[in-house]
């Protein structure tokens, strides 16, 4: 066991939890109407609690304990077999399980952005629980737990595939099956608190250092490089949104800038252990541009009410970074290069295989989960509840008393 590695991953674990609580919560709550702000915060924190307990019961085991190429075993059911002395690499295994738990917390919480302002609270809980066990944990096993994608040498340092592609694609499926908010697209109301969106995004930004640099699972040179490339990608993608908005609309917006930040962070995530600083800037440019146009495509062309752009920002960003890492692995000082005998082309093939297969599994499994939830609990609130706002109709609380 290494004290240095342990202390950095303890810190990273706290940072990654900070991304969800309250980072993602505030990011999303500011983007919805005032009458739904609490419901969104509630979704994020309730999912965090639920995912944590499920991760303890069986999620960690089927993701990370030995099994076959598709799914892990039950050796770690209820975290059995993890004593104080048990190690995973240079860390206590209790810490590794906890670090990974914070990833299992944020991934289903990301999907909240697809169904805000119109979904039943019970449906959120059931979808998230089933999704964690049927989509997230198995895909984690495929990529990080020694499963079939890991065996092919797929590069996904911190979760471009595992976190962002799974959540982005599933979010879009839920949005389509749930239907749009009343009045979408012409008559929905704008974000109620852009300043809150900024605070949430900045907590995500800082927390992302734990997410990416922590994914080195060590306090070493890879963690250090991951941190700087992460930061550069975020900064670059933010500027890309500022420039696009200035040119297109004449005014660069705060909500736009911080959306660019998140796009840059999602894009660098899979590549953060491989690229150098120049690669980080290139990924920020690519992610910023592609995600901007993806938002327009999903919402305005396809008319899908993925309300807070989970697919366009997280899914497209994560997929972009996952594919481009194959071509940026040797670009500039500080890059890590590809494995011996691996070409950019052959790596790209593996990367695309990973993105496409995980996207297909996420879409299919989520569709089934949504159908089951619809049959058991139902999905949508009544129209009156939607008009009144979920804060009072579902939780009996009001965000602002004026």
């Amino acid at each position: 066991m290494s004290g240095a590695d342990t202390s950095w991953i303890l810190t990273s674990t706290a940072l990654v939890l900070l991304m969800t609580l309250p980072g993602l919560g505030l990011f999303y709550a500011g983007l919805v109407q005032a009458k739904n702000a609490l419901s969104v915060l509630m979704h994020c924190i309730a999912i965090a609690c639920l995912a944590s307990v499920l991760w303890f019961v069986v999620g960690y085991s089927i993701a990370f304990s030995e099994g076959n190429a598709w799914i892990g075993g039950l050796d770690r059911f209820m975290l059995s077999g993890i004593d104080r002395e048990t190690v995973s690499g240079t860390l206590p295994e209790s810490l590794f399980a906890m670090f990974q738990m914070t990833f299992a917390v944020i991934t289903p919480a990301l999907m909240v952005g697809a169904f805000v302002e119109r979904i039943k609270f019970g449906a959120v809980m059931l979808i998230s629980a089933l999704w964690l066990l049927i989509v997230y944990a198995p895909v984690t096993h495929w990529v990080w737990g020694g499963g079939w994608l890991a065996q092919q040498g797929v590069i996904d340092f911190a979760g471009g595939i595992v976190v962002h592609v799974t959540a982005g694609v599933s979010a879009a499926v839920i949005a389509v099956m749930l239907g749009a908010r009343k009045g979408f697209p012409g008559k929905v109301l704008p974000p109620h608190a852009p300043w809150m969106v900024m605070i949430g995004a900045c907590l995500l930004w800082v927390g992302w250092f734990g997410f990416n640099a922590g994914s080195a699972v060590a306090a070493d040179q890879n963690a250090a490089m991951a941190m700087i490339v992460t930061h550069l990608s975020a900064a670059t993608a933010s500027l890309v949104w500022v420039v696009i908005e200035k040119i297109k609309f004449g005014k660069p917006s705060l909500v736009g800038l911080v959306t660019g930040t998140i796009a840059g962070l999602a894009t660098i995530t899979p590549a953060s252990g491989t690229v150098g600083p120049i690669g980080g800037v290139i990924l920020g440019l690519a992610g910023g541009l592609l995600c901007y146009f993806a938002v327009d495509l999903v919402k305005n062309k396809f008319k899908v009410d993925d309300s807070l752009d989970v697919l366009a920002v997280h899914g497209i960003g994560g997929a972009t970074g996952t594919v481009l890492v194959a071509f940026l692995a040797n670009v500039g000082d500080g890059s890590a290069g590809l494995g011996e005998g691996v070409t950019a082309g052959s790596q790209a093939f593996v990367q695309v295989t990973g993105v496409v297969s995980v996207a297909i599994w996420s879409a299919f499994a989520t569709a089934v989960i949504v159908l089951v939830t619809k049959a058991v609990i139902g999905l949508r609130t009544t129209e009156d509840e939607e008009t009144e706002g979920l804060d009072f109709s579902h939780h009996g609380e009001t965000a602002y008393r004026l």
Binding site: L189, E245, K251, S253, G256, T259, D296, K299
Partner: protein, 112 residues
């Protein structure tokens, strides 16, 4: 006595208050209100999507004055709040039947 209700741009409130103070109007009630007139709201753009903001924030000022300075007060408000632009606001004048200062029970002009 007259009741004057003025709807003005929020950033013009201080100018109106100072101008009215200079002509001896030393009390007012102010509310933050929303509405639309010829300005017909505006649009805001978030993540590339345009949202129509139908109700624009304004300030509503209410003052009660002696009838002989009512015209002057109206003109003062217009000068202070006016910019010659759509959205400057409107002024409404009503007859006021009575007024009373709660502390002393004074009524009519004495209460203003």
């Amino acid at each position: 006595m007259k009741m004057i209700m003025a709807i003005v741009q929020p950033y013009k409130l201080d100018a109106v208050r100072e101008a009215l103070g200079e002509i001896g109007v030393d009390g007012m009630t102010v509310s933050e209100v929303k509405g639309y007139g010829r300005q017909k709201g505006h649009t805001e753009i978030y993540r590339g999507t345009e949202y129509a903001i139908n109700y624009v924030p304004k300030i509503k000022i209410e003052i009660a004055v002696n009838s002989d300075i009512a015209d002057k007060a109206v003109e003062t408000i217009r000068e202070a709040a006016g910019q010659g632009k759509i959205g400057d606001g409107k002024i409404f004048v009503f007859d006021l039947e009575n007024a009373m200062r709660i502390r002393t029970g004074e009524a009519g002009n004495d209460a203003l």
